[in-house]
Symmetry: C2
Subunit: 305 residues, 2 copies
DNA sequence: TTATAGCGATAGCTTTTTCTTATGATGAAT
DNA sequence: ATTCATCATAAGAAAAAGCTATCGCTATAA
């Protein structure tokens, strides 16, 4: 096994440049004997002499000359690697893969991504939108760096951080506008439109209504909050949506918003990542940006109404 | 200064391949802690983490992944360099710069180069033909690896090795064929054609005739042995040439060869190189090839006559 | 010629780095 | 709950790399 070291190559290169052991050693900030020894060792591992030590000067052999060409190439790429690594230190990280649940993504992301790109322009952001269980899986498999989901999760391997809590509001047809807000009990007898199985938001809504899980026949699955609202507008029932969705979803349908009087239902949105993730520090920072974006979104929504 | 070592890069690469500290350490033939420490140190000099140590597996970070790409490139070129160096060990040396004096070159070289190429096909041979003083200069400046000249030189910095000794023969016009060979004394009064100043062969011829150096008016300078012989053929005088030149030079002119009876003049041709040259061993080998080629040449010449 | 200065190699010793073994801590699996 | 697997840490041993001092050789100056 031919086993030279980068140090030896650096010393060698210096010696080719100076043609003088003493001066090359100075350039390497070591003593002349140290350089002598390393060059000698390099020659021994190569089983060929690199320099001819004349009384006048130190000259490269033909072999040494060809060797020097390749060594210079290698040293250059090593230095480039070091430069690149140094330059990369400032970047929070090159690529950030974020998972988001579908009941958050369309409302939060536009503003959030804008904010994130502003504060970390070099970031290569990738978004994955799917249900919580999938996100967790992919997170643990290292396919995602973080996920924005509804808390709590209680996954022992993940760090959770709460971002904000928002109310869930009742969406009903405009014709019901002004009517008294139904109680939870009354809700159970209304036609409650929900997302399909798998969405955490469905579970949250159901639990609010004290419906345990096996849903009554009155329920109808929809594939997105947007669809649900449109169906409400068509008079097919009522639904619950998180506050952040209000602005976007209620504009284009004849629906009105009602808040529950006591026991306001709410959900907590948070960010999670692997406890082992080396990005923890940066993710903590990013979570602040999410909070900020969400706050902006909330203000926008409340000013609308 | 970012100062990682080749070892660290090798360990890093192994860990990316195995995704497991223990197995990577095995692959590197070191203990697991040794690898752990080196990876940690690498991460510290980079001020960035390369791996995420999960409980399930060891995964590259985004930074580590990009780093790995560059590291693989570097390791590949280092290994290629080692391979190349190993392969070069067998070659006697890539490039061999040989100087030859003009009174040897045209006779010896054709056969010698053929022989040399046969025994060392990979050799990049370069020939320089000029007078001894120049050859010595260039040899000492490192522009030549060896020179074939007439001995002795007595340059303290050079190693001399004798190759062969050959007679000098008298070349005179055909009309003098059969006449008694002139003595040295008689030669002094004949029109002796010689090479111009600077050629060692001129000095040798003169010294044989006991002419010290300032040559008599009878002399006429020619630029090559070939020219001298042609001039002899034209009846302009006589000349001396080394035996190896006989075959080539006397064919195309009406001249005949005569050997001196006593005190046969001769010259010794040898090879020289810097005492410090790392090629000494190989040059010694090459000198044997020269001897062999010269012997072949001599046999050819004697069989001619 | 002898003296002197410059240069690289070598020797002996010290410091630094790297490795090994032993052990600790943590999460996963039985 | 225990055991196993895995990576990290600690302490001491081994190896590598460095320094100072000095040698031997050349070349230059006197």
């Amino acid at each position: 096994m031919m086993n030279f070291t980068l140090k030896q190559l650096r010393y060698f290169e210096a010696l080719t440049r100076h043609g003088h052991f003493g001066r090359a050693a100075d350039a390497c900030a070591i003593s002349q004997p140290a350089l002598s020894v390393q060059i000698k060792e390099l020659e021994q591992t190569l089983k060929a002499s690199l320099f001819e030590r004349g009384s006048k000067q130190v000259r490269l052999t033909a072999f040494g000359e060809k060797f020097a060409l390749r060594v210079r190439d290698i040293l250059r790429s090593v230095d480039e690697l070091a430069d690149w690594a140094r330059a990369s230190q400032n970047e929070i990280i090159g690529r950030l893969r974020i998972g988001v649940i579908p009941t958050v993504a369309p409302y939060l992301l536009p503003g959030f991504i804008k904010d994130l790109k502003r504060s970390h322009p070099e970031l290569d952001i990738r978004i994955r939108e799917t249900v919580t269980s999938r996100l967790i899986e992919e997170l643990e498999d290292g396919l995602l760096d973080t996920a924005i989901v509804a808390l709590p999760l209680s996954e022992p391997s993940l760090t959770e951080i709460a971002l904000f809590t928002e109310d869930l509001v009742l969406i009903r047809h405009n014709k019901d506008h002004g009517k008294p807000v139904p109680t939870q009990k009354e809700l159970q007898n209304m036609r409650l439109l929900l997302l399909e199985e798998g969405h955490c938001f469905r579970t949250q809504a159901l639990s609010f209504c004290n419906i345990l899980s096996a849903s009554p026949k009155e329920e109808l699955d929809g594939s997105s909050l947007s669809t649900l609202v449109q169906m409400v507008g068509a008079g097919m029932g009522v639904t619950l949506i998180p506050e952040m969705a209000v602005g976007v979803e209620t504009r284009s349908a004849p629906v009105s918003i009602a808040r529950f009087e006591n026991a306001q239902p709410a959900r907590t949105v948070g960010m999670v990542w692997r406890k082992t993730s080396p990005l923890s520090k940066q993710l903590m920072e990013i979570s602040k940006i999410v909070c900020h974006s969400a706050k902006g979104l909330r203000q926008q929504n409340t000013s609308d109404h």
